[in-house]
Symmetry: C2
Subunit: 137 residues, 2 copies
Protein backbone atom coordinates (compact mmCIF):
# COMPACT_ATOMS: atom_id res chain seq x y z
CA UNK A 1 0.00 0.00 0.00
CA UNK A 2 2.76 2.43 0.90
CA UNK A 3 5.29 1.64 -1.82
CA UNK A 4 4.35 4.64 -3.97
CA UNK A 5 5.00 6.99 -1.04
CA UNK A 6 8.61 5.90 -0.52
CA UNK A 7 10.13 5.74 -3.99
CA UNK A 8 12.60 8.53 -3.18
CA UNK A 9 16.14 8.04 -4.46
CA UNK A 10 17.74 10.73 -2.31
CA UNK A 11 17.52 12.07 1.21
CA UNK A 12 16.76 15.60 0.04
CA UNK A 13 13.74 14.32 -1.93
CA UNK A 14 12.44 12.80 1.31
CA UNK A 15 13.13 15.92 3.36
CA UNK A 16 11.25 18.11 0.88
CA UNK A 17 8.19 15.80 0.60
CA UNK A 18 5.36 17.75 2.27
CA UNK A 19 2.96 14.79 1.98
CA UNK A 20 5.31 12.53 3.92
CA UNK A 21 5.68 15.33 6.47
CA UNK A 22 1.91 15.20 7.07
CA UNK A 23 2.03 11.47 7.78
CA UNK A 24 5.16 11.98 9.88
CA UNK A 25 3.45 14.67 11.92
CA UNK A 26 0.98 12.08 13.22
CA UNK A 27 3.70 9.51 13.78
CA UNK A 28 5.99 11.88 15.69
CA UNK A 29 3.23 13.25 17.90
CA UNK A 30 1.95 9.76 18.73
CA UNK A 31 5.42 8.47 19.63
CA UNK A 32 6.18 11.58 21.68
CA UNK A 33 2.95 11.16 23.61
CA UNK A 34 3.83 7.53 24.36
CA UNK A 35 7.40 8.34 25.39
CA UNK A 36 6.43 11.25 27.62
CA UNK A 37 3.69 9.13 29.22
CA UNK A 38 6.16 6.35 29.95
CA UNK A 39 8.81 8.69 31.36
CA UNK A 40 6.38 10.57 33.61
CA UNK A 41 4.25 7.54 34.49
CA UNK A 42 1.12 9.44 33.52
CA UNK A 43 -0.78 9.13 30.26
CA UNK A 44 -0.35 12.43 28.45
CA UNK A 45 0.20 13.98 25.06
CA UNK A 46 0.47 17.20 23.20
CA UNK A 47 1.73 18.34 19.83
CA UNK A 48 5.52 18.56 19.53
CA UNK A 49 6.60 22.09 18.67
CA UNK A 50 8.22 22.72 15.27
CA UNK A 51 11.14 24.35 17.06
CA UNK A 52 11.91 21.06 18.85
CA UNK A 53 12.05 18.99 15.67
CA UNK A 54 13.92 21.76 13.86
CA UNK A 55 16.56 21.75 16.57
CA UNK A 56 16.83 17.96 16.36
CA UNK A 57 17.37 17.77 12.61
CA UNK A 58 19.67 20.80 12.44
CA UNK A 59 22.02 19.04 14.87
CA UNK A 60 22.54 16.13 12.45
CA UNK A 61 24.67 15.99 9.28
CA UNK A 62 21.66 15.04 7.12
CA UNK A 63 20.25 18.52 7.45
CA UNK A 64 22.82 20.04 5.11
CA UNK A 65 21.31 18.00 2.27
CA UNK A 66 17.97 19.78 2.34
CA UNK A 67 19.47 22.18 -0.16
CA UNK A 68 17.60 25.36 0.75
CA UNK A 69 17.00 27.85 3.50
CA UNK A 70 14.40 26.71 5.99
CA UNK A 71 12.37 28.17 8.80
CA UNK A 72 11.49 26.04 11.83
CA UNK A 73 8.33 24.79 10.11
CA UNK A 74 10.23 23.54 7.05
CA UNK A 75 12.95 21.95 9.18
CA UNK A 76 10.34 20.21 11.35
CA UNK A 77 8.57 18.99 8.20
CA UNK A 78 11.88 17.51 7.01
CA UNK A 79 12.28 15.65 10.29
CA UNK A 80 8.69 14.37 10.13
CA UNK A 81 9.07 13.31 6.50
CA UNK A 82 12.17 11.27 7.34
CA UNK A 83 10.43 9.50 10.20
CA UNK A 84 7.42 8.74 8.00
CA UNK A 85 9.74 7.33 5.34
CA UNK A 86 11.50 5.11 7.88
CA UNK A 87 8.23 3.80 9.28
CA UNK A 88 6.55 3.24 5.91
CA UNK A 89 9.69 1.48 4.64
CA UNK A 90 9.57 -0.73 7.74
CA UNK A 91 13.01 0.42 8.88
CA UNK A 92 11.66 1.46 12.28
CA UNK A 93 8.67 0.36 14.37
CA UNK A 94 6.62 2.51 16.72
CA UNK A 95 8.00 0.42 19.58
CA UNK A 96 11.64 1.04 18.57
CA UNK A 97 11.00 4.75 18.04
CA UNK A 98 9.36 5.10 21.46
CA UNK A 99 11.99 3.01 23.24
CA UNK A 100 14.83 5.16 21.90
CA UNK A 101 12.98 8.34 22.85
CA UNK A 102 12.37 7.05 26.37
CA UNK A 103 16.02 6.09 26.82
CA UNK A 104 17.18 9.59 25.90
CA UNK A 105 14.41 11.79 27.25
CA UNK A 106 15.45 13.09 30.65
CA UNK A 107 12.54 14.90 32.26
CA UNK A 108 10.40 14.58 35.35
CA UNK A 109 7.14 16.11 36.51
CA UNK A 110 8.93 19.29 37.63
CA UNK A 111 10.79 19.95 34.37
CA UNK A 112 9.90 23.34 32.83
CA UNK A 113 8.45 23.44 29.34
CA UNK A 114 11.61 25.07 28.06
CA UNK A 115 13.85 22.35 29.47
CA UNK A 116 11.43 19.68 28.29
CA UNK A 117 11.74 21.03 24.77
CA UNK A 118 15.54 20.85 24.97
CA UNK A 119 15.38 17.30 26.31
CA UNK A 120 12.91 16.31 23.60
CA UNK A 121 15.08 17.80 20.83
CA UNK A 122 18.04 15.81 22.17
CA UNK A 123 16.02 12.57 22.20
CA UNK A 124 14.67 13.12 18.67
CA UNK A 125 18.19 13.91 17.45
CA UNK A 126 19.46 10.59 18.77
CA UNK A 127 16.64 8.67 17.09
CA UNK A 128 17.42 10.34 13.78
CA UNK A 129 21.16 9.71 14.07
CA UNK A 130 20.51 6.05 14.84
CA UNK A 131 18.50 5.56 11.64
CA UNK A 132 20.38 7.74 9.14
CA UNK A 133 22.00 4.57 7.78
CA UNK A 134 18.57 3.36 6.62
CA UNK A 135 17.96 6.34 4.33
CA UNK A 136 18.90 6.37 0.60
CA UNK A 137 22.56 7.43 0.37
CA UNK B 1 5.65 -0.13 30.34
CA UNK B 2 1.95 0.50 29.64
CA UNK B 3 0.36 -1.83 32.18
CA UNK B 4 -0.41 0.94 34.67
CA UNK B 5 -2.33 2.86 31.98
CA UNK B 6 -4.77 0.04 31.23
CA UNK B 7 -5.85 -1.28 34.61
CA UNK B 8 -9.46 -0.24 34.04
CA UNK B 9 -12.12 -2.71 35.14
CA UNK B 10 -15.00 -1.10 33.24
CA UNK B 11 -15.66 0.50 29.88
CA UNK B 12 -16.91 3.72 31.45
CA UNK B 13 -13.63 4.10 33.37
CA UNK B 14 -11.80 3.89 30.04
CA UNK B 15 -14.14 6.34 28.31
CA UNK B 16 -13.67 8.91 31.09
CA UNK B 17 -9.85 8.63 31.21
CA UNK B 18 -8.58 11.96 29.88
CA UNK B 19 -4.96 10.78 29.89
CA UNK B 20 -5.74 7.83 27.65
CA UNK B 21 -7.65 10.24 25.41
CA UNK B 22 -4.46 12.25 24.90
CA UNK B 23 -2.55 9.15 23.79
CA UNK B 24 -5.52 8.10 21.67
CA UNK B 25 -5.61 11.49 19.98
CA UNK B 26 -2.17 10.83 18.49
CA UNK B 27 -3.07 7.27 17.57
CA UNK B 28 -6.33 8.21 15.85
CA UNK B 29 -4.84 11.09 13.90
CA UNK B 30 -1.91 8.97 12.73
CA UNK B 31 -4.15 6.11 11.58
CA UNK B 32 -6.53 8.51 9.86
CA UNK B 33 -3.64 10.12 8.01
CA UNK B 34 -2.45 6.70 6.83
CA UNK B 35 -5.92 5.55 5.78
CA UNK B 36 -6.74 8.74 3.92
CA UNK B 37 -3.36 8.65 2.20
CA UNK B 38 -3.94 5.06 1.09
CA UNK B 39 -7.47 5.72 -0.16
CA UNK B 40 -6.53 8.86 -2.10
CA UNK B 41 -3.13 7.58 -3.22
CA UNK B 42 -1.52 10.79 -1.96
CA UNK B 43 0.35 11.20 1.31
CA UNK B 44 -1.75 13.50 3.44
CA UNK B 45 -2.93 14.13 6.97
CA UNK B 46 -4.87 16.46 9.16
CA UNK B 47 -6.44 16.34 12.59
CA UNK B 48 -9.73 14.43 12.77
CA UNK B 49 -12.52 16.69 14.00
CA UNK B 50 -14.09 15.96 17.37
CA UNK B 51 -17.50 15.91 15.68
CA UNK B 52 -16.40 12.96 13.51
CA UNK B 53 -15.30 10.82 16.44
CA UNK B 54 -18.31 11.90 18.48
CA UNK B 55 -20.62 10.75 15.70
CA UNK B 56 -18.77 7.43 15.48
CA UNK B 57 -18.98 6.58 19.18
CA UNK B 58 -22.57 7.83 19.60
CA UNK B 59 -23.66 5.34 16.93
CA UNK B 60 -22.43 2.38 19.00
CA UNK B 61 -24.04 0.76 22.06
CA UNK B 62 -20.93 1.37 24.19
CA UNK B 63 -21.65 5.07 24.29
CA UNK B 64 -24.59 4.67 26.73
CA UNK B 65 -22.10 3.49 29.35
CA UNK B 66 -20.25 6.81 29.59
CA UNK B 67 -22.77 7.72 32.30
CA UNK B 68 -22.96 11.47 31.82
CA UNK B 69 -23.90 14.17 29.35
CA UNK B 70 -21.16 14.90 26.84
CA UNK B 71 -20.36 17.52 24.27
CA UNK B 72 -18.57 16.56 21.06
CA UNK B 73 -15.18 17.04 22.73
CA UNK B 74 -15.98 14.65 25.57
CA UNK B 75 -17.46 12.07 23.20
CA UNK B 76 -14.40 12.29 20.93
CA UNK B 77 -12.15 11.89 23.99
CA UNK B 78 -14.07 8.72 24.89
CA UNK B 79 -13.49 7.32 21.41
CA UNK B 80 -9.79 8.19 21.56
CA UNK B 81 -9.41 6.70 25.04
CA UNK B 82 -10.93 3.42 23.89
CA UNK B 83 -8.60 3.20 20.88
CA UNK B 84 -5.58 3.97 23.10
CA UNK B 85 -6.67 1.25 25.51
CA UNK B 86 -7.03 -1.29 22.70
CA UNK B 87 -3.62 -0.45 21.26
CA UNK B 88 -1.80 -0.36 24.61
CA UNK B 89 -3.44 -3.67 25.58
CA UNK B 90 -2.24 -5.11 22.26
CA UNK B 91 -5.78 -5.91 21.15
CA UNK B 92 -5.31 -3.92 17.92
CA UNK B 93 -2.29 -2.99 15.82
CA UNK B 94 -1.82 0.18 13.78
CA UNK B 95 -1.93 -2.00 10.67
CA UNK B 96 -5.27 -3.57 11.63
CA UNK B 97 -6.74 -0.19 12.57
CA UNK B 98 -5.66 1.37 9.27
CA UNK B 99 -6.79 -1.62 7.19
CA UNK B 100 -10.31 -1.52 8.67
CA UNK B 101 -10.51 2.24 8.12
CA UNK B 102 -9.41 1.88 4.50
CA UNK B 103 -11.97 -0.86 3.83
CA UNK B 104 -14.81 1.31 5.09
CA UNK B 105 -13.73 4.81 4.09
CA UNK B 106 -15.43 5.69 0.81
CA UNK B 107 -14.03 8.96 -0.48
CA UNK B 108 -12.17 10.21 -3.53
CA UNK B 109 -10.28 13.38 -4.38
CA UNK B 110 -13.56 15.15 -5.21
CA UNK B 111 -15.38 14.34 -1.97
CA UNK B 112 -16.43 17.47 -0.04
CA UNK B 113 -15.14 17.97 3.48
CA UNK B 114 -18.64 17.47 4.84
CA UNK B 115 -19.09 14.13 3.06
CA UNK B 116 -15.56 13.09 4.01
CA UNK B 117 -16.43 13.66 7.66
CA UNK B 118 -19.54 11.48 7.31
CA UNK B 119 -17.52 8.76 5.59
CA UNK B 120 -14.80 8.97 8.26
CA UNK B 121 -17.34 8.74 11.09
CA UNK B 122 -18.79 5.62 9.45
CA UNK B 123 -15.34 4.03 9.12
CA UNK B 124 -14.39 4.83 12.74
CA UNK B 125 -17.74 3.45 13.93
CA UNK B 126 -17.05 0.13 12.20
CA UNK B 127 -13.58 -0.11 13.75
CA UNK B 128 -15.03 0.49 17.21
CA UNK B 129 -17.83 -2.04 16.72
CA UNK B 130 -15.33 -4.65 15.58
CA UNK B 131 -13.27 -4.31 18.77
CA UNK B 132 -15.95 -3.79 21.44
CA UNK B 133 -15.55 -7.45 22.39
CA UNK B 134 -11.98 -6.72 23.52
CA UNK B 135 -13.00 -4.16 26.15
CA UNK B 136 -13.70 -5.06 29.81
CA UNK B 137 -17.35 -6.18 30.05
Amino acid sequence: VWDSFIEHKTIDAIMNDKGLAKIGDGLVNFCYSLAKSAVLGVATGEKVRDSVLAQAIRATPVYRKIGRRTDAGDAADAFEAIMAYLWLAQKITIEEFVKLLIQNFEIDSKTSRKKEDLAAAHAFQIVLEEYLKDLPQ
